[in-house]
């Protein structure tokens, strides 16, 4: 009995320790003025929302927020389309180079991103993709894990569905869009969620590929603001809260699905 209490207690303690810094953003953002400097620290959020409201309405943060929303939404749409198409081709169609493409995608996963930034910047410069929305979206319009996920799901579809569709004269694109993708709904959900998280959290790419404040996503704006006015803790944490809130909301409702997707579905039997 004591052992069980110990296990559950330590489990709860550890979980809270991991979440504590995120909770602290809320405490400081909605605390009284100067609460950050209080000793001993204030532990409870006071829910003074006025600095938060000022940040949302009187500054450029809403613009940055909309930039992030737009970039993430476009990336998600494109990733789902390209992943579904390539995943279908890899799973169902026989063409020379099918398995070669499979390994080429694995190869993309192995490329060290930090070593590629300089040549990527040159490429972006020559394609005129610096400093515009397209440059923040198009390079992320294909996802290696998304393609593998759709491939895995499409492989499980019965062959007879495709044969019937062929006999009925249904085109491949129509079949993918009307039959295969709706049947692979978990793959769509996983791809949307994981793309949203990676796209929303994008920081280094916009830092390098843009220098105009009008198109920068909220993470980049936060970092600029942080370097300029670090002492303004309440506004800073309020802005951080704006960047965090969508992720926290999405995660609160889909954590089971996300954790399972990251675990490669291995945990699903137990849930």
């Amino acid at each position: 009995m004591l052992q069980r209490v110990l296990i559950y207690g330590s489990r709860a303690f550890i979980a809270i320790a991991f979440a504590l810094p995120i909770y602290w953003v809320l405490v400081i953002a909605t605390g009284y003025h100067g609460a950050v400097y209080a000793l001993p620290p204030v532990w409870v959020p006071l829910f003074h929302w006025s600095p938060f409201r000022d940040v949302l309405t009187h500054t450029h943060w809403s613009r940055y927020l909309m930039n992030s929303v737009f970039i993430s939404a476009m990336t998600i749409i494109l990733v789902v389309i390209t992943s579904a198409l390539a995943g279908y081709a890899l799973a169902e169609l026989r063409f020379p180079g099918n398995s070669l493409y499979f390994y080429a995608i694995l190869g993309v996963m192995m490329l060290p991103q930090q070593a590629l930034l300089v040549p990527q910047y040159v490429m972006m410069y020559h394609l005129h993709l610096l400093n515009n929305y397209a440059g923040l979206i198009v390079p992320f319009a294909a996802s290696t894990s998304g393609i593998f996920l759709f491939r895995q799901f499409f492989k499980k579809l019965p062959v007879s569905y495709r044969e019937i569709a062929q006999l009925e004269g249904v085109g491949t694109l129509r079949y993918i869009w009307r039959v295969a993708v709706p049947l692979a709904r978990p793959a769509v959900a996983t791809t949307v969620l994981l793309t949203f998280i990676s796209s929303w959290n994008q920081f280094q790419w916009p830092l390098i590929m843009t220098n105009s404040p009008a198109i920068q996503p909220i993470e980049l704006a936060l970092s600029h603001y942080m370097q300029a006015y670090q002492a303004n803790w309440r506004e800073l944490t309020s802005a951080a809260l704006i960047a965090l809130a969508p992720i926290l909301l999405v995660f609160a409702f889909t954590q089971r699905h996300i954790v399972n997707a990251v675990a490669g579905g291995e945990l699903s039997q137990k849930d």
Binding site: L116, L117, Q204, M226, L241, K270
Partner: protein, 324 residues
């Protein structure tokens, strides 16, 4: 009879279309064309933004060039010679090594311990919640959460020193100190990423048949013995996978170093280059000082280092990892 069919021929359209009626041959060709059409969008992205730049890196590292000038001159290994004469380059390699050597074992062991603790979490009420909370930091944006960690590491008002004061330990300067700035970044990194690897370990543990563990318990095996002789060998493939992943990721840490060490402490990578790692130096050389030739030479060094590390770990794994 002709030659026996070679296995490589099976996929080629010709071998498949021979001796088929013309409509079937057309539908076979159609399948090939549709296949290429469907992979084209993603293939284009991978070629233009990933494979193209990777090949391009091999080229530009051996040239003296500038992004805005049209001509470039072949200089052989000159960029690399210039690189090894930069003390800050060696400093960055040392910092990266220090960072990787500490973060990899700490993260791996912590993730394994958390996974063992959180195992069977979903069998009890609220167990899934603690699993989710451990994973939560990994999905949060780095800049937004770095802000709060800058406050935690604040020497005067931060939570870190408050805890040290409570424990009657000497207080630290954290991000403002040459000795503690990089360890502070390590703490953030472990906090931010341990959840991911915990989940990977949990996935590995979930594949171990319950009967194996129950049999060990019936035999009266002690828990350390069960772990060392049964669990550890069974999860060694996933441990290896996690170690490779943590190493590759930590060698390329950028965002938290840039954010945590920037601001009032005077430029990212400080104080006194104590947190300048390879990826930060590449960023600064290329995009702050616009010294692209040098930055591409550094990128190629990093590329090769990561490749060697991956292959070296693969070699070790072939000798020591137990695959079922």
């Amino acid at each position: 009879m002709g030659e026996p069919l070679r296995s490589g021929m099976v996929d080629s359209p010709r071998s498949l279309t021979e001796k088929l009626p013309s409509w079937a041959r057309w539908s076979r060709w159609r399948e090939v064309l549709v296949g290429y059409g469907l992979i084209l969008p993603s293939l284009w992205v991978f070629l233009v933004f990933y494979y193209g730049p990777a090949l391009f890196l091999l080229y530009i590292a051996f040239f003296h060039w500038n992004i805005f000038a049209s001509q470039s001159t072949f200089v052989g290994f000159h960029n690399f010679v210039e690189l090894v004469h930069q003390p800050v380059f060696w400093q960055s390699l040392l910092n990266t090594a220090y960072y990787v050597v500490l973060v990899v074992p700490v993260t791996t062991l912590l993730a394994l311990a958390l996974a063992l603790l959180l195992r069977e979490a979903t069998r009890i009420r609220g167990g899934g919640i603690s699993r989710a909370l451990v994973f939560l930091p990994h999905v949060t944006p780095v800049v937004a959460t770095s802000i709060i960690w800058v406050w935690i590491f604040d020497p005067n008002f931060g939570l870190a020193n408050t805890v040290l004061r409570f424990l009657h330990l000497p207080q630290l300067q954290w991000l403002a100190s040459v000795h503690w700035a990089l360890p502070s970044v390590m703490i953030y990194t472990v906090w931010h990423s341990a959840g991911l690897y915990t989940i990977l370990f949990l996935a590995g543990l979930a594949t171990i048949p319950r009967q194996v563990l129950e049999a060990a318990q019936v035999d009266g095996a002690r828990s350390w013995f069960t772990f060392r002789r049964i669990l550890w060998p069974l999860i060694s493939p996933i441990t290896f996978f996690v170690i490779v992943l943590v190493s590759i990721n930590t060698m390329q840490t950028f965002s938290q170093i840039y954010t945590l060490t920037g601001g009032p402490h005077g430029g990212a990578g400080g104080p006194a280059f104590s947190t300048t790692t390879d990826s930060l130096l590449i960023y600064q050389t290329a995009f702050l000082y616009e010294h692209f030739s040098l930055a591409s030479a550094m990128s190629l060094v990093l590329f090769v280092l990561i490749l060697v590390l991956t292959l070296g770990q693969k070699f070790l794994a072939d000798r020591f990892v137990f695959y079922r």
